[in-house]
Assembly symmetry: C2
């Protein structure tokens, strides 16, 4: 009889975004006239940039001819894309990353989960709390998380690093031993950023303990504050302790186009084994490359036109973030994030719970947000708002929340 | 200190196709005038069908507009594609598969490897010998293969099922216990097919033992022999013991476009747990869907025009297979496969070793083949030829091998 991977059976059933969708559906069914504005979803809404569209059309045409057709490409990505990434995202910032340290993939979500394959099950994993659920779920599946306690909302073998107002939502290295440490800056869900000094602390901790930093930088394009590092490899010593995940999803609206990359420096070794070589073996054995057409589209964001066009989109979303942050702050709410990130982390008024506030704004303002507690116990008392909507909808949503607050609707409704 | 997944360190270093490429490069460097014809690579060469190109252009245009833009899609694939697959690849053959049993992915290679995630490490895995290396390598990485013995070329915990002339390269179920059984029909590398009766034996074995059949049917489009099953789900009882992997790679030339799917029936349970639900959890947690543009391209092969166009390409490759099979048989060589598959499995003359024959035809005929022993110990004494080249190149290659044979060049050269 075949044995199942029993770690799967430990995963709690309900998923945050399913529950959010379920409550919105239920509300809409009961109030068919309500026009819900969703500031809950972390997905882009603007079309692909014209330069990307043009490059994709050209690549599709190539694929339709004998001369231009491409079959299996290099699993790690075509040289034209790996070189453009190295040059533009790293070398241009004075950071030395070579094309053979870059693995092009179908998504940072896939990579953040799959990276666990090259590490032993016995490693201790540290995650932020609140956290992007994929880090936790994929480690639970692999057997690294231990058992789930539904009362505390925590796994027995994970090290949780609370991200709270007191530490600016950017935790210091833990006292306990942690072998694999997931960091995400700009952060999802809090929108927080780590300073150069904070990241240096992490690099020193990892090098001292032989730990590996798994640095998720999917929202890098949103960084505007001067001197905030754009990559972990700006930090001295990172080449011997860090793996970085990047994505075209939020940088260039590729959520439906699927392209990302992982950077593993050649110097990163443990027990004399190069992690770049291990990941190369994994990547070439269990993956067959990103579609040629998509890689051509991704490369187009590095042309002068492409660069200008994606900057315009990022600026558009940034303006939304500014509107949410400023309007809700003016309304007396406490907002974090939204400066170097597309996420605003809103403290609920009067100490309301995340789900109670979710229900309240859904009912009173017809705005959907994401309950912070869904990202981890320390997210209780917060909700996440995203800047990925339309400009008018975003303004309208914040105006409705302001109106709700002024009309005194902040008391918990008990629903 | 972080611990590595030590199973990776057991993997033998050299990879079949790298060694083939290395020897071709070395030969070309020494003989720059030689025009090598490659019948070694399992990659398509004909462009994407016009219907696919048209659908992809239309989808790229959609992605460039506010109304048509698609961000994150359903991880399992868009309904338009899952429904087209269920209808055309199954229901039209009288096989009941529903869209919610189909998971669209970026490749059968990925799926064949990743499927192991939902099973325990302690399962006993059975593979054919010779075999597509991905089944073995991914299970070795997961710790299911035991230790590698470089002398026998075998892993200590795998059950090997020799595929030899005597059993028509289609093995019977083993005497030993096997929990996870990889079957690939039409077969890579031997080009063999399993009959309805043979597959029924497998289904009965799996249902009797609680085993799971992992049925790789990536070359299904090449089946022409009447009454050969096109899917494992034509066999009674398969819905409680089989998972099927299919791909658009060879069906529609998608090797550089990346689209495939995995079928897991709702009835497939072990210990009361639905494998469909487990895979759904895995797929949605560690994968984010196939690009919208690619899914539109894949769906286009089910239109009347698309269907006619991909049939024309398959027929073209089939003619190549026929040429190789007939010409080399007429030259006195023993050929298997190549009827319901794009692969010809050629027995080397005079009991030559696979690599010796590889070197001989490279030197005497300037034709590259793939040594059978690279797919497993029972592949010794065979080479694989593929039908994916051009018509003229294929004819020329077989003519050169015939000439070589007639000029008496079959004696091992000792190189």
């Amino acid at each position: 009889m075949v044995k199942l991977n029993e770690n799967y059976l430990k995963l709690p059933g309900s998923y945050l975004f399913s529950e959010v969708a379920r409550r919105i559906s239920a509300y809409t069914a009961a109030h068919p006239e309500a026009e819900i504005i969703k500031l809950s979803i972390g997905d882009v809404t603007r079309p692909l940039a014209p330069a990307v569209i043009e490059a994709m059309h050209a690549a599709v045409d190539e694929m339709g001819t004998y001369e231009g057709f491409r079959g299996y490409g290099p699993e790690q990505g075509y040289p034209f894309l790996r070189e453009a990434i190295a040059q533009n995202d790293y070398n241009a910032r004075g950071v030395e990353i070579r094309p053979d340290e870059i693995f092009v993939s179908d998504g940072a979500k896939s990579d953040c989960g799959n990276i666990g394959d090259i590490f032993g099950v016995e490693n201790v994993v540290a995650v932020c709390d609140p956290v992007y659920p994929v880090y936790v779920d994929t480690n639970a599946m692999a057997g690294r998380a231990g058992d789930y306690d539904s009362r505390s909302g925590r796994w027995s073998r994970l090290v949780y690093m609370p991200c709270v107002e007191e530490n600016g939502f950017s935790p210091a290295p833990p006292q306990e031993r942690a072998d694999l440490i997931y960091l995400c800056f700009p952060n999802n869900p809090t929108g927080a950023m780590a300073t150069r000094e904070q990241l240096k602390q992490w690099v020193d901790y990892a090098n001292a303990n032989g730990s590996i930093l798994l640095y998720d930088s999917a929202y890098e394009a949103f960084i505007t504050t001067p001197d905030i590092p754009h990559t972990i490899f700006e930090i001295e010593g990172a080449r011997t302790c860090a793996i970085e995940f990047r994505s075209f999803s939020k940088t260039a609206g590729f959520t439906g186009n699927r392209c990302a990359y992982t950077v593993i420096p050649q110097e990163l070794e443990r027990n004399g084994v190069k992690l770049n070589a291990m990941w190369n073996r994994r990547h070439t054995t269990k993956f067959n490359g990103v579609p040629y057409v998509v890689q051509r589209g991704a490369a187009a964001i590095y042309t002068p036109e492409g660069r200008a066009q994606i900057k315009e989109s990022i600026d558009f979303y940034r303006t939304n973030a500014k509107v949410i942050r400023e309007e809700l702050t003016a309304a007396g709410l406490k907002c974090f994030g939204g400066v170097d990130a597309p996420y605003i982390w809103l403290k609920t008024p009067d100490g309301m719970g995340s789900w109670a506030f979710f229900d309240l704004v859904l009912d009173q303002a017809n705005v959907a947000v994401t309950p912070g507690v869904g990202f981890g116990p320390s997210g209780e008392g917060y909700v996440r708002l995203t800047a990925f909507g339309g400009a008018e909808a975003t303004r309208q949503a914040t105006a409705r929340i302001r109106t709700m607050l002024h009309s005194g609707g902040v008391a918990p409704t008990g629903r």
